[in-house]
């Protein structure tokens, strides 16, 4: 076997199999016991399985957009403002080494990015109307078709 790479080079947690006991699933699968329980007491099972619509929590919703200055918080009915979770605005993500490289590139292409229409600019003021057709060919945006790695350096 071509085990040429030292496995200790990268830290991967080891699983202790000493305590683990495996048993095959049998013809009805591992959930068979649960199914048999349901057959013994169908009433209880049916009550438990009754469908209800998914919950729509009554909480303050925060609109997340592409830049800080466009994040707006509006509370829903009966929800006091002080319950608002504004944590996202306070988040600072420390860039990794690789991300820093990317961010340098981002700074360089700042002017180019400014040309891209923002969510706010595109947000329709009134009724949104669906276009029934996908983007017409050529599908690739002009901006991208001339964008190459070389340009971004």
């Amino acid at each position: 076997m071509a085990k040429q790479v030292d496995l200790d080079e990268i830290d991967i947690p080891k699983v202790d199999l000493g305590e683990y006991r495996f048993s095959p699933p049998s013809s009805m699968g591992w959930s068979a016991a649960e199914y048999e329980k349901l057959l013994n007491n169908p009433e209880e099972g049916i009550q438990k399985e009754t469908f209800s619509p998914p919950e729509v929590p009554q909480t303050t919703l925060t609109e997340l957009s592409l830049s800080d200055d466009r994040r707006v918080s509006i509370s829903l009915d009966n929800v006091p403002k002080d319950k608002e979770d504004g944590s996202l605005n306070e988040v600072t993500v420390e860039p990794t080494e690789k991300e820093e490289v990317h961010e340098k590139k981002a700074e360089k292409s700042e002017n180019q990015e400014k040309k891209e229409p923002s969510a706010e600019e595109k947000a329709p003021a009134d009724d949104y109307i669906i276009s029934e057709n996908p983007p017409a060919k050529p599908w690739l945006a002009k901006r991208l078709s001339v964008f190459t790695l070389k340009d971004s350096e």
């Binding site: 209800s52 925060t62 509006i74 229409p117 600019e121 947000a123």
Partner: protein, 354 residues
């Protein structure tokens, strides 16, 4: 819950949803729940101006902002994808702390079929468009990225270690048919896996990784035809659930493996035709294809099936179903070898030679 109580809860549910929809520039007329499972619910919102999907998902909002930003980026770059609808104030999604809402156009079309070769070549061309359109994405500060570039070594090691552990479990139960079949093939798969792991030390991978990070490119992560439709004779993405920063090779490997698993054998001609369709839109270099070959060499499907079995991931599957799927995976992995052995010949076909 009796009928009356259910009707009451539905009315309340719609009232709550209308409050959410007030953030958006639409006038909802009808609301219909389409699906709700694994913390993800989807409603069809009918308006006089067309239909929309409202999705509620229990996910870290910072993570969702990364995905929604990617969706916005793709649509601005002209990818045929359902348009994301920003809120009236320009928000790409709404955060409720532990859950989010996202609204996008609801489109209908013909299904994209795995068993239709022309659909599959179109899907590969779409994947190429997706990768091209993803270039230049700069996630907003505070969004939570998912990155797999530069982590291939760790992922391979993890899977190989698990495979070695599963081998021990199988050896403890030689009477079990799945374990017997597993033991018959595991050494061959480990050999292939370690060979692929060694190939990851190549300069080609390092360069492509660097290039991908520089270009801001990302992957779809789990290309599935369930999220695609055919609209005006072209593949159209109706849903985008996740994206990951990774090499395009990952999407190609996942798509090829998925299709070949459905065919129960690795079809060399089809694989070449599909990669050719991709290459015509987004040409890859010979060294990039060699990275794809490495990823195809790694026994991802074999590892995944053993993982499911020995960790009891599919509780409702009986032993027959496990065996049927496992035999299928072994057949695909083994028949793939001939394809892997003919890199030069297959590359010529991908690049246009007859």
């Amino acid at each position: 819950m009796n009928k009356e109580k259910y009707a009451e809860s539905l009315v309340k549910n719609h009232e709550d949803l209308e409050k959410v929809l007030r953030y958006y520039p639409i006038k909802p007329e009808t609301i219909k729940l389409l699906s709700s499972r694994s913390g993800r619910s989807k409603w069809l919102i009918g308006t006089a101006n067309g239909n929309f999907f409202l999705r509620q998902e229990y996910i870290n909002p910072k993570r969702m902002l990364f995905i929604a930003g990617a969706h916005w980026h793709l649509q601005n770059n002209g990818l045929p994808i359902a348009q994301l609808i920003p809120t009236r104030s320009g928000g790409l999604c709404l955060s409720g702390g532990d859950h989010i809402y996202i609204l996008y156009e609801a489109h209908e079309g013909d299904p994209v079929l795995y068993y239709d070769q022309s659909h599959m070549t179109q899907a590969m061309a779409f994947a190429a468009k997706f990768h091209l359109a993803s270039r230049g994405y700069i996630p907003v500060d505070g969004s939570k990225k998912r990155t797999r570039t530069g982590k291939w070594h760790k992922l391979y090691r993890w899977k190989l270690q698990e495979l070695e552990d599963n081998k021990k479990l199988a050896q403890d139960d030689p009477g079990d048919e799945f374990s017997r079949l597993f033991l018959e093939h595991v050494d061959q798969m480990l050999t292939r896996g370690y060979a692929a792991l060694n190939e990851l030390n190549s300069q080609e991978l390092a360069e492509w990784t660097h290039e991908t990070i520089e270009s801001g490119m990302f992957c779809q992560q789990d290309f599935t035809m369930a999220r695609m439709i055919l609209k005006n004779e072209q593949v159209f993405m109706k849903d985008l659930h996740s994206v990951t920063i990774d090499l395009p090779a990952r999407d190609l490997r996942i798509l090829l493996n998925k299709i070949m698993k459905k065919l129960a054998v690795w079809d060399q001609d089809l694989a070449c035709r599909m990669l050719r369709a991709y290459d015509q839109v987004n040409p890859l270099t010979e060294t990039q294809y060699s990275v794809l070959w490495t990823d195809l060499k790694f026994p991802h499907m074999f590892c995944a099936m053993a993982h499911k079995y020995f960790l009891g991931q599919k509780e409702s599957w009986g032993d027959e179903k496990y065996l049927m799927n496992f035999r299928n995976v072994i057949s695909v992995e083994e028949s793939k070898q001939a394809f892997l052995d003919q890199f030069d010949k297959n590359l010529r076909v991908i690049k246009g030679a007859d």
